[in-house]
């Protein structure tokens, strides 16, 4: 989706006439079968696993059942991590939007012949290992680091440190998913006709009014795509919470991972995954709909 949003901004050409023949189905079949077997069906097994009951006396063994209480106990035990995930992901998404917008705006409207180089530079950080880049923030945000010392001198840090606090986790999430925000914003702004901004200026709108009435509304499709592409992976992420946060900052991803792989409590972990997916889908569709009906067209 990132790539698609970023590359479809070119000239529009009359489409080639589409043929109706069996070949179409043959082309689709292998790939769609793969997605059906290894993406769609696993959701069914995930749901079935989330209702399984433990076998008495042999831990890690489960039998098919209809134990809906798994969901109740998952919520009762892990609701703080659930809420925290959405809170952290939400804050990180807003910060990423604030940081990404000027960059996307500049690349789309002001960069001239530096445009393609700047786009490469936006994607380039992803070539370095995600885990190592996150780990590097341990160095940048360490207790004696310049940035921590500076913020402490201004008395801005409630705990006197950044590493192993929620600030570090949110900072990591903001950093890691920033390109997912920049690219869709760029794609939307690139389609914006600069003459509209000129017209607004000619009509004596100040820069803030121009931004509010022209640029921002026209970039909304990019804002919607970018916030979704940042929020979804951020809400499910557990790498940042594990490497940069304390045990007080664990997110739902951490819980799913430990329950699945370490505790082998498959039903609870499946119930949590299922609820995470359902919540995200509900949020996504409400969000798209609201943004769509109010402002998009």
């Amino acid at each position: 989706m990132v790539v698609g949003v970023a590359t479809t901004g070119g000239t529009s050409i009359a489409p080639v006439a589409q043929r109706r023949s069996r070949t179409g189905y043959f082309l689709l079949l292998p790939g769609m079968a793969w997605l059906g077997i290894f993406f769609a069906i696993p959701f069914v097994t995930l749901f079935m696993t989330s209702l399984q009951a433990p076998v008495e006396g042999s831990p890690g063994q489960y039998v098919p059942a209809l134990q809906i209480s798994n969901y109740a106990s998952a919520i009762a035990e892990y609701w703080p991590q659930f809420l925290r995930s959405f809170l952290y992901a939400g804050i990180a998404t807003l910060l990423a939007l604030l940081i990404a917008y000027p960059l996307a705006y500049f690349i789309a409207l002001k960069s001239g012949r530096w445009r393609s180089l700047m786009l490469v530079l936006v994607i380039a950080p992803s070539f370095a290992s995600f885990l190592l880049r996150t780990y590097a923030w341990k160095t940048i945000l360490a207790d004696e680091s310049p940035i921590t010392t500076f913020l402490n001198a201004l008395h801005l840090l409630p705990d006197g440190r950044i590493l192993n606090t929620s600030i570090a986790v949110i900072a990591g999430l903001t950093y890691n998913f920033l390109p997912f925000m920049v690219l869709p914003l760029y794609a939307a702004l690139e389609r914006l006709d600069p003459r509209l901004i000129e017209a607004s200026n000619d009509l004596y709108a100040n820069p803030i009014t121009t931004f509010r009435k022209v640029t921002w509304p026209l970039s909304l499709p990019g804002v919607v795509a970018g916030t979704l592409l940042t929020f979804i992976p951020a809400a499910g992420d557990y790498i940042n919470a594990e490497l940069l946060g304390s045990t007080q900052d664990r997110m739902i991803g951490n819980v799913i991972q430990t329950n699945f792989i370490e505790f082998r409590d498959y039903p609870i972990a499946s119930a949590l995954s299922f609820m995470l997916m359902a919540t995200i889908l509900v949020l996504v569709f409400t969000y798209i709909r609201r943004a769509g009906t109010e402002d998009l067209v």
Binding site: Q18, L46, S126, L131, A136, I232, M277
Partner: protein
């Protein structure tokens, strides 16, 4: 003051770009470090150990090669499957289009932890042994959608008159495909394959769920993070980063040169000699 105001967006944009590269600079600098304790997080002393003895720590290079193998196999397979889907979507009419589109969109809108967990639930219920095969299956699954989107964009951006011209010149459908359509779509397919390799090579979450005891490069780093990441890992990551950057920049520059030569040829047919014969 006025200068600052009119260049404000540009200055912020450059600062954001710099910010994107700060952690990478840290990774590179620490590859020349000789850590004081077991954790390589703060600068201690210059050393070339990470570079001269790059496979010196057991497991590092093995995991690196495992990741390359998995990346090659899964990106190739996903590129074939995804390209076929992209052709079907753009060139053919068929029933069930919206279901198809949904099934392609959803993997990109699903958190990795959910995909990893649900696939693991499937393998556990089937009692399928975890290892390289399960990781490759998982990677092909999540790469397909990205390939479809990339190749589809390229196909839709193609000038249909080129294929019409081929047909007008009595090329058979298979000749048109072989000499016109395929070469034009090829850069999109190659781009999709590269993207797929990058996604597979760097994937941690889905791999970790479905790896069993197999150790890929990201899984090695994850394990090492608890007991101290060896400098060799930083050196290898630096190599990967720089080679990927070089590949992308070369593709960019070549593309620009080709476009320049083409537009020159349109203006002045004598300039056609400049075109690279490929």
């Amino acid at each position: 003051m006025k200068w600052l105001r009119s260049h404000l967006v540009g200055i912020i944009a450059i600062l954001v770009l710099v910010y994107l590269f700060v952690p990478i600079a840290v990774v590179m600098i620490l590859s020349f470090n000789k850590p004081a304790g077991k954790f390589n997080v703060s600068w201690n002393e210059f050393s070339l150990d990470g570079w001269t003895n790059i496979c010196g720590v057991p497991g590092v290079c093995e995991s690196f090669l495992t990741s390359i193998q998995i990346g090659v196999v899964s990106s190739l397979a996903a590129t074939v499957l995804g390209t076929l889907i992209a052709f079907a979507l753009v060139r053919y009419r068929f029933r069930g289009r919206s279901t198809t589109n949904l099934l392609i969109f959803l993997p990109m809108a699903t958190p990795e932890v959910v995909m990893g967990a649900s696939l693991l639930a499937l393998f556990l219920n089937l009692q399928f042994p975890l290892g390289q095969t399960t990781i490759i299956i998982a990677h092909i699954m999540f790469i397909i959608s990205f390939v479809v989107v990339t190749v589809k964009a390229r196909l839709q951006g193609m000038d249909p008159r080129l294929e019409e011209a081929a047909r007008d010149l009595y090329a058979s459908p298979s000749q048109t495909f072989r000499y016109v359509t395929f070469p034009l779509v090829l850069p999109g397919i190659l781009g999709a394959a590269l993207l797929g390799f990058a996604l597979s090579f760097d994937d941690f979450i889905i791999s970790f769920f479905n790896a069993g005891t197999l150790v890929t490069f990201p899984i090695y780093i994850w394990g090492a993070a608890q007991r101290g990441i060896p400098v060799q890992v930083n050196a290898l990551a630096t190599i990967v980063f720089i080679s990927a950057l070089v590949i992308v920049l070369v593709i960019q520059v070549r593309g620009q040169m080709k476009r320049k030569a083409l537009s020159a040829a349109v203006v002045n047919p004598a300039a056609i000699d400049v075109l690279p014969r490929s």
